[in-house]
Point group: C2
Chain length 250, copies 2
């Protein structure tokens, strides 16, 4: 990319990253929402993704720490409040634990991360490192996967409710508020990126940051698919009780 894009063309390029690289296209995501996953796979998905959910306020705090404008910080800090809540038991992380609770997972197992796949830990760690090490523009641009999440949430929640008798609307409460929050957050971040990516190099960096973020979410599902469908999980990671059963039924 050598020419400066218009703001609209930059937005189109960013949306194209989502259209081609966001995890709504991942085979594991399609299996999850179609009912093809075993209960153990749904548990493994929820347990591993907890580490991603849990890192969000930390990565947002790392971004906040780099902002030297109070107005910008006031906007961004809401993300931390959304995930951590006003008090114990509230906020996005607590709601994710409602999901893992309902799946029968032990909170200590989930929260410690000790049963997560190594690749999940590496991906989440890469995301937090990215927002610390790269420019503020890239850190903000990496959040733009929220442009694409409302669509996925709607399809996934409907599919999971329809296809798994162990999933209730309360189990998926995390996702209720996310589309509105994600729309508000991504509107703000998109406006910021369009405003401050003022050279071809900065535009390329912003697009690259969103590609990185998509690759990180994709890698998390790759790891789940590999461990629980094609190969075997790392011996210290979560083992699915229904694995033999599912394979025997194939």
């Amino acid at each position: 990319m050598t020419e400066l894009l218009t703001a609209d063309a930059l937005e189109a390029a960013l949306r194209d990253v989502g259209a081609t690289r966001y995890h709504h296209l991942h085979p594991f995501q399609l299996r999850l929402q179609s009912g093809a996953c075993s209960r153990g796979e749904v548990e493994a998905w929820a347990l591993n993704r907890y580490l991603y959910q849990a890192c969000i306020p930390q990565k947002d705090a790392a971004i906040l720490a780099r902002m030297d404008d109070a107005q910008l910080r006031r906007e961004w800090r809401q993300r931390i409040i959304d995930h951590d809540g006003e008090r114990e038991g509230e906020g996005g992380i607590a709601k994710w634990l409602k999901l893992t609770d309902d799946l029968g997972l032990d909170r200590e197992d989930v929260m410690s991360g000790r049963l997560a796949l190594p690749a999940t830990k590496f991906a989440v760690n890469a995301y937090v490192s990215f927002v610390k090490d790269r420019s503020l523009l890239e850190a903000i641009a990496s959040s733009l996967t929220e442009l694409f999440s409302p669509m996925v949430i709607k399809i996934r929640s409907a599919g999971m409710l329809e296809n798994y008798d162990f999933i209730t609307p309360e189990t998926l409460a995390y996702f209720n508020k996310r589309p509105v929050q994600a729309k508000r957050d991504s509107d703000f971040a998109l406006d910021y990126v369009k405003r401050y990516a003022t050279t071809p190099e900065l535009q390329r960096a912003a697009i690259g940051a969103l590609e990185f973020k998509c690759s990180m979410l994709w890698a998390m599902l790759d790891a789940l698919e590999h461990a629980y469908l094609y190969a075997k999980p790392w011996p210290d990671a979560f083992q699915t009780a229904d694995r033999g059963q599912r394979q025997a039924a194939e």
Copy 2:
């Protein structure tokens, strides 16, 4: 683990980590050495593993930077010399590039890492972060995979030479010196760990560090196996020319 192990029992526990978790057991490793990999898969392996090879002097420099004892630094710095060489074209990284050269890979593609799988980058990044963030004892203990590498190198090199007509002894020159270097390095690191892991907690941390390192090497092969055997590589990553051919032949 609540009791202090004897030095010999600690060594046995460390060796047991290798016996159960080192990547000599990984299915991709077994395919690689048995001749079951397509040429494209061998290329993908060499290209991705370059990032691991390239990070070694950086992770050793990070460890060196944490050592406050000159004698210890004199021992450890040899690792950096081994991989970076005395001059351009020498050392382990240059020899790895001989391998990728012989496979017909473009040096800029290899050295930039732009075609590596995202999961490879995350794993390598996790390793460098680990030696910076954890204790010096854990950083040193994480190098102990070298206890197990000479055995793997011998089997892999013999298997690759026998099974791939595009591999010559010169292609695999990297591995010639590694067994002797790895023996010297791991003897030193093992002695250090046995000497300084003086509480059950420190012993547990040292064992955990070696488990982490094994999981990182394993995750790199998982990513290769997933991308090039079971699923598809990330669209921006290396695409194998012989993929369709190999699959059509199955």
